[in-house]
């Protein structure tokens, strides 16, 4: 009971913190517009979105991952570090001091450069790995555009027309960091890791781009704010993912929203898998593969290694943010969005409305981060060639087929309802497939079926293994 309560309190705290920072972001952006020049809110957004939100979430994620994995594995997790201040002297503070100690440790460690390494490239590696990932978040809208202090404030750093293309282009730059890190350390293991990383990232970029094309077709745009869309207020039609495929009439809007996950479930799976591979986390962590080749950053120490590590966590946050904007309706509520927007209170206080929906966005991001953590700690690692097989032989044809099917459906029914129906069907089929696989596995038909657990001899699949009766007969000569 106490544990449940703790979790609830923690969740409320996190939500509150998100709301607070969102409110601060809007307020500061409005003030910047007021007192500085037009467009100054974008500068404050850089600070808030990219430094405050992404960095702080990524930093806390280092702890959250350890705590969550501990929960999954029957452990306690980090709780040893203490802060020697009155009142909290003997409190573990949920392990938060560990973040500080980690940072201190990395900053004070010897910054070692191997003698035969190329010093310039060696130092360039972590920077190149870190910067592009960080820059990715610039085009992701983290909240609605509202009026604060009489100025219009967008909760996004930049809205270039080429939106998602910017994402793909910058994401592919990150490969230089890992490849250079692997090559310049003059270590064979690091080289192997670098080669693995670059081949994996390059092959998954194809699947990554392809899985998004269906989405572009559906929303006729590659710009992220356009894909997220605007609500139907003041007579204008709703656009992007703010639309409803079907909705009830009446002041409170309830219906099936045109979110990317419903229109493009296959695209979502492809995108999620491919971008997971880009983050180089388990099960796609062959470049790291600590039990085989240790990884492309073997030779890095101190904060240079820390850069690689934190860039991995930043990638997780950015991936969650991008996926939210593309497939989970960005900052929109699944229902009641128009009702909320039409409330007089919300129309008067733009920052309040922005804060609410900004919190919604970040909660979705946290959910997706959690999904990534669960995947990370559940699966073992692929083999190198299996990763390539998955990318080229499964995700790529799947993405291609998805493009054609989606294109035809969008052409046939521009209201996207046909696409939505097919999408729901696809989700249903996937669910059914997952269920039946589990069942058939228990009946000994699936590939992983092996009989003879606890004496029951039901292993008559093609690879039935333990046959106790046979074995004891054979060995009792």
């Amino acid at each position: 009971m106490k544990r449940v309560l703790t979790v609830l309190v923690a969740m409320a705290t996190i939500t509150g913190a998100l709301a607070g920072v969102s409110a601060a972001a809007y307020a500061v952006a409005g003030l910047a517009e007021e007192h500085l020049f037009t467009g100054a809110s974008r500068l404050s957004n850089i600070v808030f979105l990219m430094l405050v939100f992404v960095m702080i979430i990524a930093t806390l994620l280092t702890l959250a991952e350890r705590k969550w994995s501990a929960l999954m594995q029957d452990r306690v997790g980090p709780n040893r570090a203490r802060i020697n201040l009155p009142g909290i002297r003997n409190r573990s503070l949920a392990g938060i001091p560990h973040i500080l100690t980690d940072v201190l440790k990395m900053l004070t460690k010897e910054d070692f450069v191997p003698g035969a390494a190329n010093r310039f490239l060696f130092k360039l590696g972590p920077i190149l790995a870190f910067a592009p990932v960080f820059a990715l978040f610039a085009v992701v809208p983290a909240g609605p555009s509202v009026t604060v202090f009489g100025h219009r404030v967008d909760m996004v750093v930049a809205t270039p027309d080429f939106g998602v293309l910017y994402l793909l282009a910058i994401a592919s730059l990150a490969v230089y960091g890992t490849a250079l890190a692997g090559w310049s350390s003059n270590n064979k293991f690091a080289l192997l890791g670098g080669v693995r990383a670059s081949s994996q990232m390059i092959s998954y970029e194809v699947a990554l781009g392809l899985s998004l094309i269906g989405l572009f077709l559906a929303f006729s745009s590659v710009q992220l704010p356009a894909i997220v869309g605007d609500l139907a207020v003041a007579g204008a039609d709703a656009t992007g993912q703010a639309r409803y495929l079907w909705r009830t009439d009446g002041p409170f809007d309830l219906g099936l929203p045109a979110w990317g996950i419903i229109l493009q479930p296959i695209g979502f799976i492809g995108f999620f898998a491919a971008s997971f591979a880009e983050t180089k986390r388990a099960p796609f962590d062959v470049p790291e593969g600590e039990s085989e080749i240790i990884g492309y950053f073997v030779e890095y120490s101190g904060m240079k290694f820390g850069m690689f590590m934190i860039s991995e966590f930043v990638e997780v946050v950015v991936l969650a943010g991008v996926t939210t904007a593309l497939f989970f309706g960005g900052h929109h509520l699944p229902f009641g969005g128009e009702w909320l927007a039409s409330q007089p209170l919300m129309q008067e206080h733009g920052w309040l409305y922005g804060t609410l929906l900004g919190t919604v966005f970040w909660l979705k991001v946290l959910f997706l981060i959690w999904v990534q953590l669960v995947i990370r700690w559940t699966f073992p690692r692929f083999r190198y060639d299996q990763i390539q097989t998955l990318g080229w032989k499964i995700l790529l044809p799947l993405g291609l087929a998805n493009v054609f099917v989606s294109g035809a459906l969008v052409l046939w029914d521009p209201s996207l309802r046909a696409l939505g129906v097919v999408g729901l069907l696809e989700i249903g089929v996937l669910m059914v497939l997952t269920m039946t696989k589990q069942e058939s596995a228990e009946h000994g038909a699936h590939g992983g079926a092996h009989g003879a657990h606890g004496g029951h001899d039901h292993g008559h699949g093609h690879d039935a293994h333990a046959l106790p009766s046979h074995a004891s007969a054979a060995s009792s000569h």
Binding site: Q73, R75, L192, I293, R381, R383, G448, G455, H465, S476
Partner: protein, 419 residues
């Protein structure tokens, strides 16, 4: 990229091309790819203990591999030859440090054979229980490490939890977690503690639960199956030729288990099965180990239910220490105690080869005694030694990433291989 890395010799001279063009070999040399030789270990996360693997790679494929062992060599045989028979016991702990009790009991069994001694029934039961407990810890570590090194951290920690519970029980029994030095020639040096059997039963129940968890995480996990099925294959004939025994051989489909073939102690009284694989790949080795753990649990349960009362060590003061009241109270007791401690057990001259089924296979002992109270020769047939010898045969031509699960599932233990 796969062709040779030796430069073709330019044969003969061609007056037309000499001087104007570089020789043929040099032209081709731009396209030549050299094999990369990397050195895994002796200190590498995947080499349990310390093994150095010189691996020649062509891309990700292993062309040649040369395991180089001996970094953990401690001079086991030489040490044993210079101490009394009882003093050898701590050295045997360090052979397979994951299942020390099996080494202890295997050695003692061989010495008892050499003397021609039959130990009390209760001692035999305790030996069976201890052996099977340590077979559990050994297999748990092996299976857990297999999961760990393929990136799944959770199964490893589930395994560790069960292992720690069993280690606690082992500590209550022997006084040590890993280096137990348990048992003495002629029996066992201390009896089961009070209430220990019930604790063990509880531990086994929890272990079974954790086994189910590990099973759920690994056995039907598509990635795990892909990584292990069809990798590290060895045929039954090859395995026998290399001298494989134990779970690794059984995974090839050979139902050979010394506990069934030559039942020692009281193994023939228990009802247990010998799981057998079919393909001899990593997946089968993993499954065989999982199943063996369940069988071990069965054996321990039966043994705990049927263990008789009685003495735990032979009543022969030439072999076993006299009871303490005798030592303090009678001159004969003091004499026997003194002689036994100072001179050791006087094993009559002779030789013996005796084998027990340890967690990784046949643990054989070839002992020679010259009758002077110290072993003249202690040869140990470590089950991991022939298994490791076959690694080049298994892995050459396969991928580097396959090396890791193979190395895990054969469960090479540095301590016993390198003596």
């Amino acid at each position: 990229m796969a062709d040779s890395h030796t430069m073709p010799e330019a044969k003969g001279h061609n007056p037309d091309t000499d001087g104007s063009l570089p020789p043929e070999g040099e032209l081709e040399s731009h396209l030549q790819a050299k094999h990369m030789v990397i050195n895994m270990g002796p200190s590498h996360p995947a080499t349990h203990g310390t093994v150095r693997l010189k691996v020649e790679l062509d891309g990700e494929t292993i062309v040649k591999i040369d395991p180089e062992i001996g970094f953990l060599h401690r001079g086991f045989q030489k040490s044993c030859e210079n101490v009394t028979w009882t003093q050898c016991l701590p050295y045997t702990d360090r052979l397979n440090y994951l299942s020390a009790m099996m080494n202890n009991f295997g050695f003692l069994n061989a010495v008892e054979k050499l003397i021609g001694l039959e130990i009390p029934e209760r001692a035999q039961y305790i030996r069976v229980i201890g052996s099977e407990l340590h077979r559990l810890t050994d297999h748990l570590t092996c299976v857990g490490a297999t999961g760990l090194e393929m990136g799944g951290f959770a199964p490893f920690l589930y395994g560790m939890e069960a292992r720690e519970l069993i280690q606690d029980r082992v500590t209550e029994l022997t006084g040590a977690r890993l280096t137990t030095s348990f048992g003495r020639v002629g029996g066992i040096n201390r009896d089961l503690p009070d209430g220990w059997a019930d604790k063990v039963r509880k531990t086994l129940t929890r272990t079974e639960e954790l086994l189910v968890e590990m099973d759920g995480l690994l056995t039907r996990n598509r990635i795990f199956v892909d990584r292990t099925k069809g990798t590290g294959i060895i045929s039954a004939d090859d395995a026998i030729d290399y001298g494989w025994t134990g779970p690794a051989l059984r995974a090839c489909g050979v139902a050979h288990d010394l506990r069934k073939a030559h039942p020692y102690w009281v193994y023939e009284r228990f009802d247990f099965d010998v799981p057998v694989g079919e393909h001899g790949d990593n997946y089968d080795r993993y499954l065989v180990r999982m199943e063996e753990m369940r069988q071990s649990i069965r054996i321990i349960r039966q043994a705990l239910d049927t263990i008789p009362t009685g003495p735990i060590i032979v009543d022969d003061w030439r072999i076993a220490l006299p009871p303490k009241p005798e030592v303090y109270g009678t001159i004969e007791g003091v004499m026997a105690h003194f002689k036994l401690v100072m001179e050791g057990i006087q094993v009559p001259p002779g030789e013996v080869y005796d084998a027990t089924e340890a967690s990784n296979g046949e643990l054989g002992w070839y002992l020679v005694s010259d009758g002077r109270g110290r072993p003249y020769k202690v040869h140990v047939r470590a089950p991991g030694f022939p298994v490791l010898a076959a690694v080049p045969h298994i892995i050459e031509g396969k991928m580097l990433a396959d090396l890791i699960p193979t190395f895990d599932t054969i469960n090479m233990i540095g301590g016993e291989v390198e003596q």
